[in-house]
């Protein structure tokens, strides 16, 4: 009797309907999931396309070929501007009036004489000879060559007037104006002149800041996590500490900046804009992230491993350092690198401690004034010149490159050291 009821139940129309509904629910869930991923991917593609399409031209820079004579007297006077001008005027013998020559001077970067100086410094034997040198063009010429400025329309509304356009066209035709790889972008510090501005100062600043962050937050974070997870008694004090750590992880980063301003600059009197202070602030910000991820990683080590080690007479500390910690290391590393990546992309707290300053020199030490990549992006995005627009996008690409590198490293380390039991 009961057998027949069961049979009829599973073969009934109602049951078939229910079964169809179950499958439909699963199908809808899958569709929703795929849609979510598709939307996210689309957003990512739009973002990346926008950045790359705006920024890729920044990796090229218009260069002007000039035939210059390194006159001994002028070199001694360090009058490289005159040397450069003579070479430039020689290319345009038809232009003799003052206004025309001023226009020609504007074709070159205001930093071009320094390039000549650098050449002489590198090889003093060129003094007295005539050489063909390539110097950076002015950023407006650069942007014009890249097609960002119109060549038609009312002359007064154009960035380049007719005479300049004629000169640029003449040089392009004779091969004296070409675009080449923009090494300045990767080797120089910041500058008010877009063609002389580079990201290297910010990269070094970021690396120094991260160095401090890592040196402080990784050992302290791991030690704190090990103590809390493996040794500390579970009582209301440790509960209180845990709640506080979780809270700190969610505190807006600018608060950490204010804390850094008050404590490190105000109380301890550390220098402003310095990577050491940036690193300290970032370490405070990253610590809770590292502690939380390290605790999760330690928790995921099976208790049987601890028992095995204790069971043959390992001390609690030996158990942790010989067995638990190595097994938790992939997870700890992943959490650490993600924390570091967050610190690399962080801007707000650094604004509070003066790392938003305009700094031309590449920093050489932890107390030198410096800025970091995301702040550099922020400052370039604020600059009105057209050439900074593409440099902003280029800097974003470089920052993204670093982030991808770090996250890739996290995945690689996890895969390499992951153990199964």
């Amino acid at each position: 009797m009961s057998v027949t009821t069961a049979k009829s139940h599973y073969q009934s129309e109602a049951f078939a309907r229910r079964l169809r509904a179950r499958y439909a629910a699963e199908r809808n869930f899958k569709i929703a999931g795929i849609a979510a991923i598709a939307i996210a991917s689309l957003m990512l593609v739009v973002l990346l396309t926008s950045i790359v399409s705006k920024g890729y031209t920044a990796f090229w820079q218009a260069q002007v070929r000039v035939e210059v004579t390194f006159d001994k007297a002028q070199v001694e006077e360090r009058n490289y501007a005159a040397i450069l001008r003579q070479g430039l005027y020689a290319q345009f013998p038809q232009i003799t009036e003052r206004s025309g020559r001023r226009m020609l001077n504007e074709l070159l970067s205001s930093g071009a004489p320094y390039e000549l100086e650098a050449l002489v410094a590198r090889d003093p034997s060129i003094v007295g000879t005539t050489r063909t040198v390539w110097v950076r063009a002015d950023d407006e010429v650069d942007q014009f060559v890249k097609g960002y400025f119109p060549r038609t329309g009312p002359e007064a509304e154009r960035r380049l007037n007719d005479a300049k356009i004629a000169a640029v066209d003449a040089m392009t035709a004779s091969g004296a104006l070409v675009q080449s790889f923009n090494t300045t972008l990767f080797s120089a510090g910041d500058s008010r002149e877009a063609e002389q501005a580079g990201i290297w100062g910010a990269v070094v600043g970021s690396l120094l800041t991260l160095l401090i962050t890592m040196a402080l937050s990784v050992p302290i974070g791991i030690a704190a996590a090990v103590y809390l997870e493996e040794f500390a008694p579970k009582n209301k004090w440790t509960d209180l500490i845990e709640v506080n750590i979780n809270n700190l992880a969610a505190v807006p980063s600018i608060i950490f900046g204010l804390l850094g301003l008050a404590v490190f600059l105000g109380f301890f009197g550390l220098p402003r804009s310095a990577p050491v202070v940036g690193g300290l602030v970032m370490a405070l910000m990253t610590l809770p992230v590292i502690i939380i991820s390290a605790r999760v990683a330690l928790k995921s080590v099976p208790p049987s491993i601890r028992e095995a080690a204790l069971g043959i007479g390992a001390s609690p500390l030996q158990t942790v350092t010989h067995h638990v910690l190595p097994l938790a290391m992939p997870g700890i590393l992943t959490g650490t690198i993600i924390g570091m990546a967050r610190a690399l992309g962080e801007t707000a707290p650094l604004l509070m401690i003066g790392m938003v300053a305009f700094i031309v020199d590449v920093p050489h030490g932890l107390t030198d004034s410096a800025t970091v990549l995301p702040v550099q992006i922020y400052m370039w995005a604020d600059s009105p010149e057209r050439a900074f627009t593409e440099r902003t996008s280029a800097a974003i690409m470089i920052l993204l490159g670093f982030l991808i590198l770090m996250n890739g490293l996290a995945v690689f380390l996890r895969k390499k050291f992951e153990r199964r039991w």
């Binding site: 028992e307 069971g311 039991w421």
Partner: protein, 272 residues
């Protein structure tokens, strides 16, 4: 201090057969509390040297808790409180003269689930001797590893792959590896907490043979749910029920002529 002199004779142990063998470990009135909950209500057991003592009883009766008191593994459990006396060679293991780390080296343990370290077979065995400084130099260590594996009956199966991870072995081999790891530090007593419950019958037979051989050199306490296993491997059996030790006697006596009806009920399968 010598506790043995003033240890009262337990109510059950040795009542019918005079103890001809010296006691390796004794437990007197052992009570264990997890917070407010009492898990053991005064256990008295004598563990005789070079014999196998089987602890049987239904789930939750406190067998494992008692076993873990013998090498103070319960120390790692928060809120766990142990009262009463447990002595190893007449010395109180919860006293000042024995340190927990030292005790666990002398009283080894094999767990229910094989738990080799995720390291090579060699390192699994060599770890204990290394941290206790029992082997100086490479050759001595190699020797310890080989003897331990031989005594655990695993040498022939793994001698060509000592560098491979211990976790890659089969379940039965892993458990024998854990036994080899335990005996590598030359303990005096080996505690086994249901060592065969995760193994198939063939691997179980292997381990049981091994236990019988190990008896020559070690004192063994084994917790088991398998009554046939208790009958096969042990000389003494203690029956636990709801935190009490109901009966402890020669294994043969327990299985053929139990004095308590709860023991009778359990071994005949009426409950448990």
């Amino acid at each position: 201090m010598n506790v043995q002199t003033h240890i009262p004779t337990s109510a059950q142990a040795g009542a019918r057969s005079a103890p001809a063998v010296p006691n390796k470990m004794v437990a007197r009135d052992v009570k264990v509390f997890y917070g407010a909950k009492q898990a053991l209500k005064g256990i008295n057991v004598d563990i005789q040297e070079n014999k196998v003592l089987a602890l049987i009883g239904p789930s939750g009766c406190g067998k494992s808790t008692f076993l873990r008191c013998l090498n103070r593994m319960n120390d790692t459990i928060e809120n766990c409180r142990v009262e009463g006396l447990i002595a190893l060679d007449g010395e109180d293991v919860y006293g000042k003269s024995i340190d927990a780390v030292q005790l666990r080296a002398r009283v080894g343990m094999v767990f229910q689930k094989p738990n080799p370290f995720p390291k090579s077979i060699y390192d699994n065995i060599a770890y204990g001797p290394r941290i206790h400084g029992m082997a100086t130099g490479r050759e001595e260590l190699d020797e310890v590893v080989q003897t331990s594996l031989q005594r655990a009956g695993l040498w022939n199966e793994v001698k060509d792959r000592l560098r491979e991870p211990g976790t890659g072995l089969s379940g039965g081999q892993q458990q024998r590896l854990c036994i080899a790891r335990a005996i590598a530090v030359s303990p005096e007593v080996i505690l086994m907490d249901e060592p065969c419950s995760a193994l198939d019958p063939i691997a179980t037979a292997h381990i049981e043979e091994l236990i019988d051989e190990l008896r020559e050199n070690f004192t063994i306490v084994i917790v088991t749910h398998n009554m046939q296993q208790a009958a096969r491997v042990s000389q003494k059996t203690a029956f636990f029920h709801l935190g009490d030790m109901v009966e402890c006697d020669d294994t043969e006596e327990i299985f053929t002529n139990p004095r308590d009806e709860r023991t009778q009920g359990y071994i005949t399968g009426r409950y448990g």
